[in-house]
Structure formats: C-alpha cells, structure tokens
C-alpha cells in the first residue's frame, strides 16, 4: 500500500519550514511593487505584440481593414453633427461648432472606449490568464495601446475638420501632444481600475454604459461649456468643473481653436489635468497590482 501522503499531511507546519529551508517561494505570492513594475517592463514586447494582435484580429474580418480606423470617427462626428448641430440646435453662440463638437466627441470617445474595452480585459482573457504566466497588467495596458492607435486616427480626422472649418495653425497646437499624453496615462489608470473592479464585482459591467453616458453629459461634449455656468451654482458648478474629462476636452479645444470660451483659466486646467493623471494612473496601477494573484480565480 502506498500511503505516504497520509503520514505527511499530519506534519503541516514542518512542510512550511521545509519549504523555507530550501528557499522555495510560495505560489501566488504577491511581488513588491517595484519588482512587479520591473517584471511588467520586461514584458513590454508581449504587450506591444498583444495590442497589435488585437488590432489585426478585429480588423482582419473586414474588407476595408485599416480604413475603418479613419471612417469610424468620421461617421461618429457626422451623426452627432446631424443631431446636435442641425436637428437640435445646441450651438448657441459658439463660433465653430463643428470643430467644437468633434473635439469633444473624439476626446471623450478615447476615454470611453478604453473604459469599455478595459472592463473586459480580464474577464475576456481568462483562458490566457489560466494558461500562461505574465504580469496581468499587460492586458489592460495593451487595451489602452489599441485605443491610442484609434485615437491617433481620430486626431488626424479632427485636425482635418479644424482646418477645413477655417481655424489657423498656431504654436498652441503643440499643446495637443502633452494633453494627449496626460490623457493616455489617465486612461491607462482607469483601464487598470475597471478591469480589476469588474473581475471582482461582475454586476458593475451592467452599469458602465449608464455611468459613461452621465459622464458624457457632464463633460460638455454636445453643448457649450457655458451651459453649466448659466444653470449651476456653488458646489454643483465646482463639481462639474473639476470633472477630468471636461478638463481634457477643454485643453484640446484650447489648443486647436482660436475663439473658444473656457470654464476656467487655462493654467488652472493644466494643473488639474496633471493632478488627475497622477492620481488616477498611480491609484489604478496600485489597485490592480494588489489583485494580481487573484485574476485566475474566475
């Protein structure tokens, strides 16, 4: 009879000591944050390859392929212009409403798609997570990279629209770059945050469309930002004006357009954008890292 296992199960604590004696590491031990970050960095090629794979997998089944990356934002802008520029006239006294609207739609769309895709990045890749060993943060970060690609295509379309509607090219256009970099880090933090949250509390996925819609209405995407100042006061106005998406959208409008009314002075907008980015990207990363070893649990 082979019954060694029964004898060993009585000696629980000594097994632990034996493991320590021989320098074995506990499976599923959470690495320290710097160690995890180094590990993640060593997986950068995997992250890039995974992001590329996702793009080719999603475009592979269409005939037009990459053209869709330009067509999608164009169609989006057209639909919103038809509804909010022509049918319901929300433009009030904005000079260049088409450009104003498109900047809002595209910049909000960047964050929106990252949140949507990020919310599925753990749950949709469960088989991969259970099969292979890689830092799980690779997945939400790869999702963010995919959307960065789409965002660059939208920005090309946006610049074309801005030029066609008669805005001049100025030095301020260079501000586009830091603003988009800040927003990308902000989005990555958000993707990390929602991917862990939803892998734990699956029900929240059902709420995400509504949260995003409310957030969009609070970000002056479809109507001028002066709309808020006319209707809200005190803490309500302060709350809306602290909204990071409103801040990012305003920064882009300020960079690309000449006569645009902002809710706050531009310097204040930049400071708030930086604070939000640091808070959300670092907070999201730490929150995700703390759950690292539980993602395989389904």
């Amino acid at each position: 009879m082979a019954q060694t296992a029964v004898a060993e199960s009585d000696t629980g604590p000594s097994l632990k000591e034996l493991a320590r004696e021989h320098g074995l590491t506990k499976a599923g031990r959470l690495p320290r944050l710097p160690e995890y970050t180094r590990h993640l960095w060593s997986y950068r090629h995997f992250i890039a390859a995974f992001a590329n794979a996702k793009v080719s997998a999603s475009l592979g089944s269409t005939k037009l392929g990459v053209v869709w990356q330009l067509l999608t934002p164009l169609i989006n802008a057209g639909v919103y212009y038809l509804i909010f520029g022509v049918l319901i006239n929300t433009k009030q006294n904005v000079d260049n409403f088409i450009a104003y609207l498109c900047a809002g739609v595209f910049i909000f769309g960047f964050t929106q798609t990252v949140v949507q895709a990020g919310s599925q990045s753990i749950t949709a890749n469960m088989a991969l997570i259970r099969a292979l060993h890689f830092p799980r943060a690779s997945l939400p970060i790869a999702v963010t990279l995919v959307e960065v690609r789409n965002m660059i295509a939208s920005i090309v379309v946006l610049i074309a629209i801005v030029l066609l509607t008669g805005e001049p090219i100025t030095v301020e256009w260079l501000l586009l770059i830091p603003a988009l970099i800040l927003q990308t880090f902000f989005n990555a933090g958000l993707a990390l945050f929602v991917s862990r949250l939803i892998s734990k509390v699956t029900d929240i996925r059902q709420l995400i469309p509504y949260i995003l819609r409310i957030w969009m209405y609070g970000s002056a995407v479809l109507y001028p930002v002066t709309f808020f100042a006319e209707r809200l006061h005190g803490w309500q106005l302060a709350l809306v004006e602290a909204n990071p998406m409103l801040i990012f959208i305003e920064l882009i409008r300020h960079a690309l357009m000449e006569n645009v009314t902002l809710a706050q002075p531009v310097g204040l907008l930049w400071i708030q954008a930086i604070i939000w980015t640091v808070l959300v990207s670092f907070g999201g990363y730490v929150y995700f890292w703390r759950g690292e070893k539980g993602y395989g649990r389904g």
Partner: protein
C-alpha cells in the same frame, strides 16, 4: 526519509482550491425579492456557487523526479497543476511552494484563433517571457517541430482554419520551446497522431533532463509507466495514494474496475 539528501522542488501543504462561479444560481434564488432579501440580511449572494476542486492536498516532490498524476475525470488534476503553477490561488491556511517558476504545458493554453500560426508562436513565446531575439531565432524550429506545414503553408493562415489536432500540436510545440525548472504537463501528449506523440514524448524526456521535476497528467497508463517512477492518485480533490507508479496504478485499476 532521506530529506537531507534530496532537494525538494515542489511542496504542497494542505492546499485547497475553490472555484467561484457567478450568475449560475439555481432557479428561484435569483428573483428580485430574493436579491433584495440578501441585500437586507447581508447574506452572501446565492448567485455565487462554489466548487471545492482540491481538498487539502499535501506532498513533497524532489528534484529529478517525474510524477504521474492520475484520477478519474473531474478529480481535480488540472486544477492542482494550475495551483502549482500559481495560476489559481490557494485558499488561506495552506500553500504550495515551488522552486523557480513552474510552467504549465496544457492542451488549453489559449491562443488567438483569428491570427496566423506564426503570430501565435510569437505571442505565446513572448508571454512565456522570451526576448524578441529568442523568439525570432526559435520561430522556424517551433513551426517545424509542430509539423503544421507538412501539408502546405499553414503557418501563415489563421488558427481557426486548423484542425483541432493541428492547433494542439502547435500549442505543445510553443510551450515545449522553453527550458523549465518545474514542468507540469496536462494531457498534452494525448493530442496529435501517433507520429507526433512519439516526437513529443521524446521532447518531454529531454525537457525532464533539463527541468528539475516533471508532473504528468495522462490517461494513457503506458505513458505514465514509461515516464514516471512515482505517481499520485487524486480522487474528488483528495489524494488516495502516493507512491511508486506500479503500486498506485494497481490500486487505481481495482478502483476503476469495481
């Protein structure tokens, strides 16, 4: 026991693994009223069902050993291997300790079906932690070993066009391309035709020489006899026997044929 001479590579100490499945409640427990009651009483959601797949497993595996893991379907073999690999968390109160990073070589290693075999090789190798240079150097060998190009240029076609045997062969080839401290093989050899099986068994023997310890799950008793001196029989998540392959297989056979 000669613990002092032999070097342990994997130690399981009273390991429990529990799966939690959401949204699969029995009929009647998911009505609005029932949900409301749960919220008010603060009871745990009945929509979460638990499967206790591994129940208090303890063993010590040593360097140079090849251990066969046997048991009927659903007895928790794959779950135990995933827990050793650190892919599934072990419940509090127990633990699994391992030397280095154990690698799991399974039939289920997921790849992306919309992408070509070549892209999958690249992605799989990067996910195992290889550098791009290593990947480039090995891609041709991996595809060659998998034999998917024996009948024309399939490596540039999407994996969804492969037969199930072909994709299993490719997955095995990718995973076997790397050196491993502790190698966990889950029915990976059962796939593919006889010719590929022979080739892959040879590859496993080579890997075992390089690796410290090999765990092998297989329904082929011959395979277990050929590769393992020691076997563990797992039934309903509990170890029923652990010892020399001859003894354990004999016990297992009498159990199965009962």
């Amino acid at each position: 026991m000669a613990d002092n001479e032999r070097e342990p590579t994997v130690i399981a100490d009273n390991a429990h693994v529990v799966y939690r499945i959401y949204g699969s409640a029995a009929a009647g427990s998911n009505t609005p009223l029932a949900s409301f009651k749960r919220i008010v009483t603060g009871k745990k959601s009945a929509a979460v069902r638990e499967v206790h797949a591994v129940k208090g497993v303890s063993f010590v595996a040593y360097k140079g050993e090849a251990i066969g893991l046997i048991g009927t379907n659903g007895s928790g073999k794959s779950t135990l291997l995933r827990a050793i690999a650190g892919l599934l968390p072990v419940e509090r109160g127990g633990g699994i300790y391992a030397a280095g990073q154990p690698s799991l070589l399974g039939v289920n290693a997921a790849l992306m079906n919309d992408l070509s075999g070549e892209r999958n090789v690249e992605l799989g190798c990067l996910a195992m932690g290889m550098s791009p240079a290593e990947v480039k150097a090995q891609t041709a060998d991996i595809i060659e070993f998998s034999g998917i190009n024996d009948r024309g240029d399939f490596s540039s076609l999407p994996m969804k066009t492969y037969s199930s045997g072909m994709s299993a062969r490719l997955r095995f080839s990718i995973a076997a391309a790397k050196k491993h401290d502790v190698l966990l093989i889950d029915e990976a050899l059962a796939t593919g035709d006889a010719k590929f099986r022979k080739r892959s068994e040879q590859r496993v023997r080579d890997l075992r020489k390089e690796a410290g310890t090999v765990f092998l799950v297989s329904h082929s008793e011959q395979s277990i006899r050929d590769t393992c001196e020691r076997s563990i029989w797992l039934e309903s998540g509990v170890i029923r026997a652990d010892g020399s392959t001859e003894d354990v297989l004999k016990e297992y056979e009498t159990y199965v044929n009962k």
